[in-house]
């Protein structure tokens, strides 16, 4: 993107009115205006979501899918509204393909556990990538240990892009699952998921996408992608903490056993035999996080009203601007320079530990993440202890990018 286009997008998106929706952004930290750039860890919440949380407890609080009484009906309706809104949001074929979980981690664990029980046997192969978050590594490792299966890792190049030739050569008729991140939380790489899925399907393997860092940044169409499972969290997409989503194709969700057992997931219980409830309730044992489930709908509305295409363009403008400005700093190196990137700038200052940079930035009111970002194998791949990660959201501004750059310069002058 040329400078003029970049400036045009940054000016056209009405970020100041967006910021008015996020009360926390007006607070100060260490006497400085908060510059929140830890959005990859969790995003702030708009007033629409916060108000919905208050409304839930003042007007609706009741258990769902249980009672015949009025409040329970209201709570159940509101809870199911979220599922109804998720369907067009992801362009799922059916509402019942959307399962509520506690978050991305639980969504992935559900698939690893239930799909694993039904379909993974000794000698089978699973494929992940070198840039996965620990939550998309460990469940598959455990499954492989349990079932005697083999875990393959698609390597990446120095820019942080998947080696697609290596991926092709790993696929074969023994491949039982490909679990890959859509957008890398540590590098910002946007993976060519459509191609990854098509190649996996060619050998009969389903694909799980970790969309924790994608769903808030770019439009997702699960049918166009033809993805089999897709996992994400509410709290990284401006919604409440404690609610996540697993999208699964109907045929897979019907073919795999339930995850946890108890109330809600049953149709009939006798001591001789229990029959399971139909989708999606088969996978939703026990009382869910009702408040978060209901209020997630308001985050979906918020994203839908702004438009994910618009959000993606705006954030991309900020990403390019900040990348360009940061690279002007002597000794600054960006880790993750893929051609296709979204919302994440991971960097290192020569001669400074990321932790030290993070401490100085915090003193200047800037929230970034430092460390290995739960991707230790990836940090090992680059032979670094970690990075400083600035992750961008729709409410960040060009001025905040300038503040970040000035603060990194100051950190460099103190530390290096």
């Amino acid at each position: 993107m040329c400078t003029m286009e970049r400036t045009a997008i940054l000016e056209w998106f009405d970020v100041s009115s967006v910021r008015e929706d996020f009360p926390i952004l007006t607070r100060t930290v260490n006497g400085k205006p908060l510059v929140y750039l830890d959005n990859g860890a969790t995003t702030q919440k708009p007033r629409q979501v916060i108000d919905a949380i208050v409304n839930y407890y003042t007007q609706l609080n009741s258990n769902v899918h249980r009672g015949v009484h009025h409040l329970s009906q209201l709570a159940t309706d509101a809870f199911e509204v979220t599922r109804r809104k998720l369907q067009p949001f992801l362009n799922a074929a059916h509402e019942h393909e959307l399962i509520f979980t506690r978050g991305t981690t639980e969504s992935i664990n559900l698939v690893a556990s239930c799909y694993g029980k039904a379909f993974v046997n000794t000698g089978d192969e699973l494929i992940i990538s070198a840039m996965e978050h620990h939550s998309n590594i460990v469940p598959w490792q455990i499954l492989c240990e349990e079932r005697g299966a083999i875990l393959h890792v698609v390597p990446i190049n120095d820019a942080g892009e998947l080696d697609m030739d290596a991926y092709r050569s790993l696929l074969n008729e023994r491949t039982k699952m490909v679990a890959i991140t859509y957008v890398s939380n540590a590098l910002g790489t946007v993976n060519p998921v459509k191609e990854i899925i098509a190649l996996a399907h060619a050998v009969g393997a389903p694909v799980l996408l970790d969309a924790a860092q994608a769903v808030q940044h770019l439009p997702i169409d699960v049918q166009a992608l033809d993805v089999d499972f897709l996992a994400f969290s509410g709290h990284k997409m401006y919604g409440p903490t404690g609610i996540g989503v697993l999208y699964g194709k109907e045929k897979w969700l019907n073919a795999i056993p339930p995850y946890q057992s108890g109330g809600e997931m049953i149709k009939e219980v006798t001591f001789a035999k229990t029959t399971y409830n139909e989708l999606p309730f088969k996978f939703e044992a026990g009382t869910p996080n009702i408040e978060a489930g209901i209020c997630l709908a308001h985050a979906i509305d918020y994203l839908t009203e702004l438009g994910l295409d618009n959000i993606a363009s705006y954030e991309h403008g900020l990403l390019e601007y900040a990348t360009h400005e940061l690279l002007e700093i002597p000794g600054l190196r960006i880790v993750g320079t893929a051609k296709e990137k979204s919302s994440v700038i991971s960097f290192l200052l020569d001669g400074a530990h990321p932790y030290d940079v993070g401490v100085i930035l915090d003193k200047l009111g800037i929230a970034v993440r430092t460390g290995h970002h739960c991707t230790q194998p990836l940090m090992d791949r680059f032979n670094i202890p970690g990075t400083v990660r600035a992750s961008i959201a729709l409410y960040n501004t060009r001025e905040e990018m300038d503040t970040l750059v000035a603060a990194v310069r100051r950190a460099a002058s103190m530390l290096v």
Binding site: H353, Y355, D356
Partner: protein, 140 residues
């Protein structure tokens, strides 16, 4: 000087710094200047695992006193480690085991001792005291 006298002196020193910048610049300087540990002790067995910055700690027992040396891969952590050593090193095991570290709070660096900072400092202080307590127990 006793552990508390050293702590009080540090509190007086830090009172001269006008803002956080000066304080951190001093810490960074302290971190840069102190060759804290012999390289042969920068091995995993001396490593105290913090989540992000690493701290290596070694203790020697000489003439009834514990001599601590330590290092970190992060410079601010190293500066803080330097302060801890100034306070706790070269005292008897009993003095170290029963000491109360109040200076960090008073010089406005309390946040670094919060477990969420993941810099290994909390574990380091715990380790120093455990070492002293163990020595104390064997001597009694």
């Amino acid at each position: 000087m006793t552990i508390n006298e050293i702590q009080d002196e540090l509190i007086d020193d830090f009172a001269f710094f006008e803002d956080w910048m000066a304080k951190y610049e001093y810490l960074i300087q302290l971190g840069k200047e102190l060759p804290l540990i012999d390289d042969r002790y920068k091995k995993d067995e001396y490593l105290i695992k913090g989540c992000q910055s690493k701290v290596w700690l070694h203790a020697d027992y000489q003439n009834g006193r514990v001599i601590f040396t330590a290092d970190s891969d992060a410079i601010i952590t190293k500066g803080l480690v330097g302060l801890m050593i100034k306070v706790l090193s070269n005292h008897t095991p009993a003095e170290i085991a029963t000491s109360e570290l109040y200076f960090i709070d008073q010089i406005g660096l309390k946040e670094h001792l919060s477990p969420t900072r993941a810099n290994g400092l909390v574990s380091m202080v715990k380790q120093m005291k455990l070492y002293a307590a163990a020595l104390n127990a064997t001597r009694n």
